[in-house]
Every structure is written in C-alpha cells, then in structure tokens.
C-alpha cells in the first residue's frame, strides 16, 4: 500500500461498520480513496459493495433502522458525525445508480435539478452549467437541439450519461458509481467507461462493478470485498496480478461469486 502515501486521500473510511437493523453488512472496513483517481470496489454478489458505497453519501440515512459505526473522512470532515447533515454530504458527493434513473422531466431540467435544489435561480448561470455538465458527460452534441425533450425518450446509454451530467453539474468533490453499466449494452458501456477515464481528471471516482474486466480496464485502485469485509486493497495492477488473499485469487479466477 505504499503507493498510496504519495497520493492525497480524498476520502477515508476508518473502522467502518454498517448494520441493516441487526444484519451486519459492512464489517470493520478501512479504505482510502485517493483523490482524482478511479477506485473500484469488487467482490462476489452480496458481499456489501453497494452497502459500503452508499455509506459515502449517507444514502442509508433515508431508511429507518440503519446504523453506521466508525468514521468516514471527506477531506478533514468526518461525514458520519452527528454535526454534519447528510444532505450536505450528498451535495459534495454525488452518485450514479445501477439503473439509469432520470426524472420524468426534460433533459435540461434533469441536469438543472442539481442546481435548482440548491436554490439557484439565475437562468444564465444554470444554462451555462447545464451545457458544461452535458459536455463533460459527452452528451451535449447528441441532445443540444432537444434540451426540452423528455429524458425518458433517450436510449439507456444516453440516460446513464444524462445521470452522470446531473451528478456533475454542481461540481461534486467525488462521484459514486454503483455498477453504472450493468444495465447497458456493450457499446454504451464502452462510451461510459471512456467518459469515466476523462472525468477522473476533475473528480474522485469510487465505483462498484461486478465486471472484473471493467475494473481491470480503467480503475487505478481496486478494493476487494468478501462477506462484508475488505480483504484487499491496492493498485489495480497489483491486486489483479498478485493478490495477497486466496479468496481474492479464487474470485479473480472465477471460483467464487
């Protein structure tokens, strides 16, 4: 893990535990997410990847009975502490979901939403930021002539890029992706992967994927989870070439999962 030290950590989970009611889904996890890098979370189905990811923007606060233990630092703020409002966390850390979930509004309004919830009213500013976000999400050219169209009329891959634009619009410090391409066809997947490689120049990315190929293709760091625990973390090349745990190896060879 030495390489890490040279990189600035953007977020850091320390002794993190998470419980769905009495079910212990994330166990004692320590994880450092380096700034402006892509960190991939992999592991067999049900191991807690999604659960861990959603701790980073406190999505679990939406449902009763969920409980965190430990700390997650975003820069120097412990975002699990009581003083910090989960909404504030979500404004700093945005998220893209597994299934594209654009709002049933126009394309423009979907992207503008992130600004509007913040109370932004200035039309020209919103216009400008929407355009910029759509450009960053590599969608601008395809939709610039029909910003008033309903977002639901876009194709799956376009919808997902729209969701990325939506996540980008308010300059988040970090973006969480939960298997963002698992509902998409290979071509759409490729364009989203390409997009992500570019995004990391501005923003820190933490991504859950069940495709090892995907993780190998474009992540810088990889964390391997197993039964709620974090078994392995390191540069992607290291984790893939010489994993230090037998389970990691088994998983990578397709024996579990």
């Amino acid at each position: 893990m030495k390489e890490l030290i040279t990189l600035k950590p953007k977020a850091e989970a320390r002794d993190l535990n998470f419980y769905y009611g009495s079910f212990h889904a994330v166990k004692n996890v320590n994880l450092t997410v380096p700034e402006r890098q892509v960190t991939a979370l992999i592991g067999p189905s049900g191991c807690g990847k999604t659960t861990l990811l959603r701790c980073f923007n406190r999505m679990h606060d939406l449902y009763p009975g969920n409980r965190y233990e430990g700390q997650i630092f975003l820069d120097s703020d412990n975002i699990l502490s009581r003083e910090i409002d989960p909404i504030e966390v979500r404004m700093r850390v945005s998220m893209v979901f597994q299934k594209p979930n654009p709002f049933p509004k126009s394309i423009y309004e979907n992207v503008a939403y992130g600004l509007r919830v913040r109370g932004e009213k200035k039309r020209s500013l919103i216009d400008e930021k929407v355009e910029q976000a759509l450009k960053e999400a590599a969608l601008w050219d395809e939709v610039k002539d029909r910003l008033k169209d309903m977002a639901l009329n876009l194709s799956g891959g376009q919808q997902q890029r729209l969701c990325i634009a939506r996540a980008l619009v308010a300059n988040p410090e970090m973006i969480l992706f939960d298997e963002p391409t698992s509902a998409l066809d290979p071509i759409a997947t490729a364009s989203i992967e390409e997009l992500m490689s570019q995004l990391k120049q501005h923003v820190t990315i933490l991504i859950v994927t069940h495709s090892m190929q995907q993780a190998a293709r474009f992540s810088d760091y990889t964390a391997f989870m197993y039964l709620g625990e974090m078994l392995e973390f390191g540069t992607t090349s290291k984790v893939f070439s010489s994993p230090s745990h037998s389970q990691t190896e088994d998983y990578l060879r397709g024996r579990i999962g």
Partner: protein, 307 residues
Amino acid sequence: MTDSNLQEIRTELNRRKKVDQLFAIVGFLVILFSILILVGLTLQMAISGIYRITPDFFLSFPSRKPEEAGILSAWVGTTLVMFVTAIISVPLGVASGIYLEEYSRKNWIADLIEINVTNLAGVPSIVYGLLALGLFVYILNLGESILAAGLTLALLILPIVIVTTREALRAIPNSLREAAYALGASKWQMIWDHILPYSFGSILTGVIIGLSRAIGETAPVITIGALTFIAFLPDSPFKGEFPFISLAWLQAPFTVMPIQMFNWVSRPEAEFIANAAAAGTVLILMTLTMNTIAVYLRYWFRRGIKW
C-alpha cells in the same frame, strides 16, 4: 472545496431544512386536524345525545313525544335489511370475484365486466335509489319493502365485495393452485377445497366493510319510500304452524337507522335533535364496530399464514 464555499452550502441548506421541517409540521397538523375535527364533531354529537342512550331508547318505537321516542323499529329494520343485503351480495359478489380472478380469460367480455365493476363502484348511491324505485318498486312490484331495500343495498355494495374477493384470491400463491391440480383436482375442486377456505378471512373482511357501508346508506333507501312514521316491527320470521318460517317480513314496510336519524335531524325541536345525536352515535358505533372487527379479522387471519 473551499471553506467559504462550504459555508455557503451550509447557510443555504439551513434555509431549505427549515422549510422542510415546517412542512413536516404542517403535514402532521393537517392529519391531526382532520382527525381531531372528526373526533371533536363526533364527541360533540355523542355528548349531546348520550343522555338519551338508555335501554328504553333501544326498546321504544319512534314517537311524537321526543322523550318517549326510540330506535326499536330502526335497528330491527336495519338488521333485517342487512340480512337480505348480505344474503344477496355475498354469493353474488364472491361468485363474480371468483369468475373474474380464476376463470375469465383476456377477452372483451372480461374487460367489459372489469370496467363495469370499477365504474359501478363510482355510481352515486342516490342513483341506486332511482334504480330501486323504477325497477324494484314499480316494475318488479316489490313495494316499499325490506326486500326492495335489501336488494338495492346489495347491488350498491356488490362492487366492494367483488373487488375485495378478487384481492383475496390474488393473495393466494399460485403454488397452492398448482399443488392441488397436480393431485388431480379439477378447477372447481381446487377453488372449493383450497382457494375459498384460504381466502375466507379476507373475503369476510371485505364483506363486513361493504355491509358497514350499507348500514350508513340513507339516500337509496329514501327513494323507495322508507321515510314514514313506522312504529311497529316487521312480521316475525317465525310462526307457530308449519313450515315455521314466514317470509312476510320481506314485504313489510320498515325504517332503518340512518333514515330515523335523518327524520330527527330535520325536526327543529331540541329534544328531537338530541334523539338524532343519540341515533347518530349508535350508528357511528355500529359502523366503527364493524370496521374494527374487519381490521382485527384481517390482522388475525393474516397472522397465522406464512405461505
């Protein structure tokens, strides 16, 4: 992210959260307010009528003297009308529910029946009164009788019984149907031996809710002419000689609880208003009891079952 930026976010957020909390309070108050108004109105009514609710009130006929008047003919009438309503609506509604859920194939007849049932549920109850007046009273010549009223209310709650029956049947897992079929049961055997017994509780719940609705219905019974001075009971359903059961009561003139209450509400004298309040309190207690039983039954029947 710079600190000033963060500061900005926080002030903005505080404002939004205040609005959010304000709404949470408003929403809670709205619900509280609706329920409290209702409880307040009911209590107000109960208090102004409570002194009239004595055993005599239940055992006396209506009278021109408010302090002697009671609801004997009304509650007996309600009971008998409900009996007829249940006898007609339950088999008809449950059978329709079974047909729609277990038999009907996707064709235009099924669609027609479906659309029709949902639409019937939205027909104003007074219209059932007109149907009763035109069809039962005059064409079928049933007169202004318990039978006519029972039939009318049965048709009125038919959609409720059908819909709840269908929901009850839908809740039964398909695996049980397949299990019965795999043992060589015919369709009707499957339904009679399994589906009906297992959905009995939920169907019963729906029937009770339907009947509690029927108990409170006034308008459709008014049109068939139940608002008269009725100070007697219908004929007894039992008689001394063979066959011991008499159906004369079906044709008897009658009154029912909500009509009796309506009658008293339209009287100006304060003493009659107290009677109306007392009758209203009894009526609310009747419907509430039925609803509570229904809720309890639903809970009780669901508790034992983990498919």
